[in-house]
Structures are given as C-alpha cells and as structure tokens.
C-alpha cells in the first residue's frame, strides 16, 4: 500500500515535470526565435529565412545598430525614462494617500468615495472627454498629458488598500497614542512596512508608463517629446513601406529583425527590474512588528 502510494507520487511528480517542461518550451521557443531573428544577418534571412539555430559567428547587431543608432533614439529613450520615472512617482504619490485613506474603516463617507471610485473603474469616460480635459488644461505637448490622466489606477489603489487594511491596527494605535497624526502614521509607520506593495504597484505603474504608446501620439505634437515606443513604431512603419521610400537608406536589416530587436530593447529594462524587485514580493516585513 505504502509502496503503491510512493510510486503514484513519483509518477505524479514525473508527469508534472513533463507538463511543466512542455509549458517552459512553449514559452522559451518563441522567445528564442525572437532572439535569433533579432541577430540574424540580412543575407541569411533573405536566403534561408529564420533558422532555429544560428552559429555565434554569424550573429549580427545590425538591427540593434539601426534602432539604437537612430539619431532620435537618445532623445526618445530620455523621454521614456522621464515619463516612466515622473509618472511612477506621481502615481505612487497620489495612490498611497488615497489607498491609505480608504483603508481607514472609520473614514467619513468611505462608502460613497468607494462607490465613486468603482464607478470610474466600471465606466470609462472615453477618449473625447479626456481629450477635452487635457486641451482645456493646456497640457498638449507636455509630459503631464501622458502622466496625469492615468496617474491613479483604481485597480492598483484597491490592491494597495487591501494591503494597508491587512496591517495590524495596533501599530497605528500605538503611534497615535504616542501623538502622531495621520500623516505621521502613514510616513513613519505604514510606509516603512509597505515596501513590497510600494515596489509592486510602482512596477505596475512603471511598466504601464514605459509601454505607453497611444497617448503620446494623441497629445504630443512635438517630435522631440516622443517616447521610445513611438519611435520604434515609426521605424517599423518606414521599413515595411520601403517600396515607397526610393532611397537606399533603410534596408540594412530585415523588417522582422527590426521588430524582434525592438521587442528585446523595450523588454530589457523591465526584465532587469523584475528580478531585483521579486524578493520584495514574497519577503515578510511584519515579523516582530507586533508583540502578543
């Protein structure tokens, strides 16, 4: 009986391992193909297409050179960095007090405020009213047009609110007894305990602003303010319409290579940030915070 159970468990483990390996391959193979496509030389691509393996001696950085070497690339990446950092900072600055306030159960009008917030979650105002608001505030051609409208995400606020609600009330009471006001409670007690949620929500915001594409197209008319996703899109459009571009200037890498390189370039910053933040996702921060 015991032997049978052990064997069943082992079979389950083997089956699970096979299943997870298949899942892993399903994820890795397309990703590997993107990498190969990004580094494939034009002559091999036009002769053979994209092979599964490419000899390391054949790899070329031409697609990256074409994208990163673009005269507007430094400006575009600077714009993206500014939008991402400023947007994340403003979003956190606004989301934290909102979430904290809402996590306070005796907040006057809490239900009404929650209803109003959820209303905006369920019913989007649409493009035109937001456009009218932005132009009315004279924010066109301004980073704030990209940053302010989505600065407070209802979803992120609710997640953060739930986290704050989970913090022991005794900690806040202790601080209040010591004479701290609500702002001091938030600053000195809550925030130091909330690194995981701050980093997690901050990452959500950062990814959102880093990938933001449509609103810059809509509100920014100045080419010098365009972020990286817009530049990459413009390069790809040019490459794919090159029969109309008469001049021999834009064809040193295949369109597929440019697309793949663009994917990798935009992924890299977020790929670098994720592992660094991952430990905060699981790390407990309240150990020892409350003594029974």
């Amino acid at each position: 009986m015991l032997h049978s159970k052990t064997r069943d468990a082992m079979m389950f483990q083997i089956g699970l391992a096979i299943f997870l390996t298949i899942i892993l391959l399903i994820i890795l193979i397309p990703f590997w193909r993107v990498i190969v496509t990004a580094f494939i030389p034009l002559d091999i691509y036009t002769r053979e297409g994209v092979p599964f393996f490419l000899s390391p001696t054949q790899w070329t950085f031409e697609a990256f050179r074409q994208l990163l070497g673009h005269s507007m690339f430094p400006r575009a990446i600077w714009n993206s960095v500014v939008i991402t950092l400023l947007g994340t900072a403003i979003s956190l600055f606004l989301t934290v007090p909102l979430a904290y306030g809402l996590s306070t159960r005796n907040l006057p009008g809490r239900k009404l405020i929650m209803t109003l917030i959820l209303f905006t979650y369920l019913f989007s105002p649409g493009l035109i009213p937001v456009y009218l608001l932005i132009t009315g505030m004279k924010l066109t051609n301004n980073y704030l047009a990209i940053i302010l409208p989505p600065a407070v995400s209802v979803y992120n606020t609710l997640v953060m609110m739930s986290f704050f609600e989970g913090l022991p009330e005794e900690l806040k009471d202790a601080a209040r007894i010591d004479g701290a006001n609500e702002l001091q409670v938030l600053w000195h007690i809550i925030l130091p305990l909330s690194k995981p949620i701050l980093l997690t929500i901050g990452l959500f915001y950062a990814v959102f602003f880093w990938n933001e594409f449509f609103t810059p197209l809509l509100y920014l008319n100045d080419n010098n303010l365009m972020p990286l996703p817009v530049l990459l899109r413009n390069i790809l459009i040019s490459a794919s319409f090159n029969e109309y571009v008469e001049y021999n200037a834009f064809s040193s890498a295949s369109i597929e290579s440019l697309k793949a390189a663009g994917v990798l370039i935009t992924m890299i910053p977020m790929l670098l940030i994720y592992p660094w933040i991952q430990r905060y996702f699981t790390k407990g921060t309240l150990v020892g915070g409350v003594k029974e």
Binding site: D43, Y45, T46, R47, G49, H70, S71, M72, F93, L94, P97, L98, G101, I113, L116, I117, T120, S124, P125, G126, L127, I128, V130, Y131, L132, L133, T135, L148, P149, P150, A151, V152, S153, T157, N181, E182, L183, F214, T215, L217, L218, N223, L231, N234, I237, S238, S240, F241, N242, E243, Y244, V245, E246, Y247, N248, A249, F250, S251, S254, E256
Partner: protein
C-alpha cells in the same frame, strides 16, 4: 501645523479622486465624433482681404513620407522663407498613420480644434469617407474660392475632374485631392533565367502559365538539386482573393470585386458566370501545388523575403518593391545571374486580359471651417501655391547646389555633392517629409529622380522605370468609382463571408460545383448583397461614374 497637514492630506485625496475619474480606457477605441448636425453648415465665404500686417499662424497636419525620420527642426530654412515671403508662421505636425491618426483627428474634431490645413487619415483607407464625416459635422470649409488663388497648384495637382467630384458634397468642393501615388505601379513578373534554363517561353495564356508554373515547381529551375521552388508566389491582400491574383481573374474578365463595365452589367463580379471559371482555373493551380502553398497566410513581408530567397519564379509585385536598388540588392546578392522581366496579363478563353483594377486613391487635404472663420483662407492658398512653385524644389529635394543639382539633361542628381548632404541621405529625410503628401505630382523629372537606373552585381543595367512603363501600358479596369461606394452596415460579416467563401473554394475546403456556387451566391444575398449592389449603383450613378 496639524491643520496644515490635514488640509494637505485631504487635498491629495480630492485630487486623487479627480485624477482617477480622468483615467482613460487602457486601449482607446475609435473616437466617436460628437452628435452630427443634420446638414453641413452653410459655408462661409473665403475672405479676400489683403495680406494682413501680422504674420498668419497656420497649423498643418500631414503624414510623414519617412515616418522614422521625424519632423524638420525648428531652424529649418523653409520655415524662415515661408515667414519672410508669405508672412506665415507655419507649424508642421506629423500626424500618425492608420487608426491612430484617425483617432487623433476624431478627437480634435470633437473638440472643434481641427488644424487649419490637414490630411485626412482613415484606418481603412477611406479618406473620402473621413472627409465626408467632417463635412457633415460642419467642421470643413468649402475650398472652391481658394482654387483661383493657387493657379499653378490647381494645374499640377487638382487637374482631375473625377478627383474633384469625389471630394465635392452638397454642391461644394470640400477637399483638395492630391495626385495619387504613381498609378498602375504593380504588375506580373517572371524569372527569365529560369525560363531560359528550362527552354520555356513567356506564358501568354492561363494554360501556358500553368505549364510554366508546373515546370518551375518540378524541374529544379535554380539547379540546386533540391525540390524547393514553386511556380507562383502570392499572398492575400484586399477583399476576396485580393489584388495579387487579379490578373488571373482578369483573364476571365472579372478582376476585382465590382463589374464597372457599364450601367447594365454593374454589380458584384461574382454574379458573372466567368467568375466561377476563373476560380476553377485558380483551384487547378492550387491543386497542382504550383503556387507556394502558404499564400493564404503569408504576410507581405514574408512574401518579399521569399522571392529574395528564390522561392518562386512568377509573382505580382510593386515595381519599386522589386526594382529599387535598396529592395533588389538582397536578391541580387543571392542570385547575381537572375533576371526578372515584366509579363503581360495572360489572355483568357474569351480574349480578356485585364491586368487589374485601378482605383486611383490619393491623399485628401482639407481646410477647417475654423481656419477660414479666422481669416486664414487666403494664406493657406498662398502656402499651397508656393509649395507647387517657388518652394517645390526646397520641399521636395532641399537646397539646390547643396542637397541636389539639376544636371545637363534637366534631371535631379546628387553627383559631386557631400553624401551626407545629398537629399537621398537618411540625415536629410526630415527636411523633405512633405514631399509625398503635398509636393510631388508625378512629373517625369520627379519619377526619374526617385527611381534612378543602376548597375546590378553582374553589370546589368536595372531600369525601374521600364517596369513601371510596361505595367502602366497594360489593360486596367478603371475602378476609381469604388471611392464613392460606401460599405454596407454589416461590412465585417459581408466581407468575411465573401472572402472566406472564395478561399474555401480555391483550397478545396468546399467543393466548387454549380450547386455550391449557387449556395454561395444565395449566402451573399442573405447578407444583403443585392441591396449593397443597388446602393453602390445608385452612388456611382449619382456621381456620374456609371455610363
């Protein structure tokens, strides 16, 4: 102190609420214009006042010729010249292409904030429809009064009465129809080196085309010892089987979706019994596996990669996509001894040999009513006239002697110039961004400059213009009337049924018999095909495009 902090926290809360309410949807959809007025606003006459003493601010929105290059810098010499010569402060904004551009225009239209002069942008290439929607909202100004103010431009750009008709609504001309990109620029080409190797002649009938395609598929025309070639290569683009196979349908007299041959015969081409014969022939090519079997799913980029890899020997291609040095070079490197030659459309059983359908869609510009109300009409006309006269070379090629020269034959050239300064250099592209939208009008000098001859690796002279000339000489159906045909309300369902049905027949997923064909036509009728045809016929008749 405590009160101050409380006020701060409360203020933050209130501000957060307001901002949260402003958050847009994650993926904005097409902007809905505001409530349309029942009829277009009564046009305001263009003021004919004398040049105002203060410079006129004009905002121009147009798509880029080279999207990646960006707009010209603020110190662009053209801005200064326009200011000095025309008393205009020009702001040039590059508007995005496709759905993004359409959403942007819709948003500013809803805010009654349209730019003074702008290009219509449509996600589905329906620029005329985009103009009409704005006209119906009363946001566009009629432009007849501007035409006499720009005589040279009118002569060079707005000289096609049909194009003018297509941008005229409610007895007024509202659009400025720019000349379409070089018309009839696609055509049928074949690998001459493969024909020579197999001792074959250029096919002139569908049957001969079949024979050649079969030989290209089975007789190793590239001599590499592998069974890795196909006779024909293509991909789907457009409604039904798309334009890449129109020459096949043309051999049976049924190219394209519509039959434009006359009022009595007008309707969907699938009504014509010849259409089924054309499909039967097409199916025989598919069944014999002489067409690259990936054609139903191939993208344009994949298709272009494949002919450069030597995958097939017959195809339908844009002349510039085939012959421009930048496009031809990878193929030339792989196959320096290869040679593509243009081929006339095969002549079908009834003697039909249509190459395709010429739709002649061009870019449309419009002037906002707001701009005219602000007295900018005359300045806009003078700017457009300048672009067609004194500013033509500057906007199209740059500064003469620095970015281009005009050689002894009167051709545009870059010979002897600093390569970085040449108008063809990547660095110079921001300075000629308006050229394809507002400047070029397909003059011979332009086209020769845009598509110059060059030598291939083995020393053969490549002449893109000879391909273009050949394609343009073929018999094309004049389908420009398609621009007045509005899609039916159930366009998505209709198009899906129409296209998928044809593909299923050709691929053999559905047997092609008289009964199944009748069922297919009945299916189209159940989706309102007859009403669609009647509406299209009425629109064409009203526009005087159906004789």
């Amino acid at each position: 102190m405590k009160n101050w902090k409380m006020i701060f926290v409360v203020s933050l809360l209130v501000l957060s609420q307001i901002l949260a309410a402003c958050a847009p949807a994650a993926t904005p959809t097409e902007a809905a214009p505001p409530e349309a007025t029942q009829a277009p606003a009564e046009p305001t006459a263009v003021p004919t006042a004398t040049t105002p003493p203060e410079p006129v601010d004009i905002v121009l929105w147009a798509q880029a010729t080279v999207t990646e290059a960006g707009a010209p810098p603020e110190d662009w010499i053209a801005y200064q010249i326009i200011h000095d010569e025309l008393n205009i402060n020009l702001t040039y904004v590059i508007v995005p292409t496709g759905a993004d551009g359409e959403a942007k225009i819709n948003a500013v239209a809803a805010a009654n904030d349209l730019p003074d002069l702008f290009q219509m942008v449509s996600a589905n290439n329906d620029n005329r429809g985009a103009l009409l929607r704005l006209v119906d909202l009363g946001l566009m100004a009629p432009v007849e009064d501007l035409m006499p103010l720009m005589p040279e431009r009118t002569k060079l750009h707005y000289n096609d009465p049909l194009a003018i008709d297509l941008v005229s609504f409610y007895d007024h001309q509202y659009g400025l129809p720019e000349p379409p990109p070089i018309p009839k620029r696609e055509g049928l080409v074949i690998r001459k080196d493969w024909l020579d190797k197999l001792g074959l002649s250029v096919p002139t009938t569908p049957e001969e085309l079949f024979t050649v395609a079969q030989a290209f598929t089975t007789q190793d025309p590239d001599g590499n010892g592998k069974n890795d070639t196909y006779g024909y290569g293509g991909f789907l683009n457009g409604q039904g089987l798309g334009t890449r196979f129109d020459f096949i349908m043309g051999a049976y007299g049924v190219p394209g979706v519509w039959n434009f041959s006359g009022k009595g015969d007008f309707g969907l081409n699938v009504r014509n019994p010849q259409y089924k014969d054309a499909l039967t022939y097409f199916k025989s090519l598919v069944d014999a596996k002489v067409i690259d079997p990936d054609w139903p799913t191939l993208t344009r980029d994949d298709f272009r990669a494949r002919w450069k890899q030597g995958s097939f020997g017959i195809m339908w291609e844009d002349f510039a996509a085939l012959t421009n040095k930048s496009n031809y070079e990878p193929f030339d490197t792989n196959f320096p001894d290869a040679e593509w030659i243009p081929v006339a459309s095969p002549k079908g059983p009834n003697g039909d040999a249509y190459y395709g359908v010429y739709t002649g869609r061009g870019q449309i510009f419009g002037v906002s009513q707001k701009a005219v109300d602000e007295g900018k009409g005359e300045a806009i006309a003078s700017l457009l006239e300048w672009m067609a006269t004194d500013g033509y070379y500057l906007l199209g090629f740059g500064e003469e002697g620095k970015n281009f020269i005009i050689d002894a034959n009167g051709n545009i050239s870059t010979e002897g110039l600093d390569p970085v300064e040449a108008y063809t250099a990547p660095e110079r592209q921001p300075f000629t961004q308006m050229r394809n939208q507002l400047v070029f009008y397909n003059s011979e000098q332009e086209i020769v400059a845009r598509y110059p001859e060059y030598k291939t690796i083995n020393g053969r002279t490549m002449q893109p213009m000879s391909f273009l000339g050949f394609f343009q000489e073929q018999a094309w159906v004049d389908g420009r009337g398609i621009q007045v045909i509005l899609p039916p309300a159930n366009a998505a369902d209709f198009d899906r049924f129409y296209t998928e049905g044809l593909i299923q027949f050709v691929l053999g997923q559905k047997e092609l018999t008289d009964e199944t064909w009748a069922e297919y036509l009945a299916g189209l009728d159940s989706l309102g095909a007859a009403e669609y045809e009647a509406a299209a016929k009425q629109a064409l008749t009203d526009a005087g495009l159906l004789k």
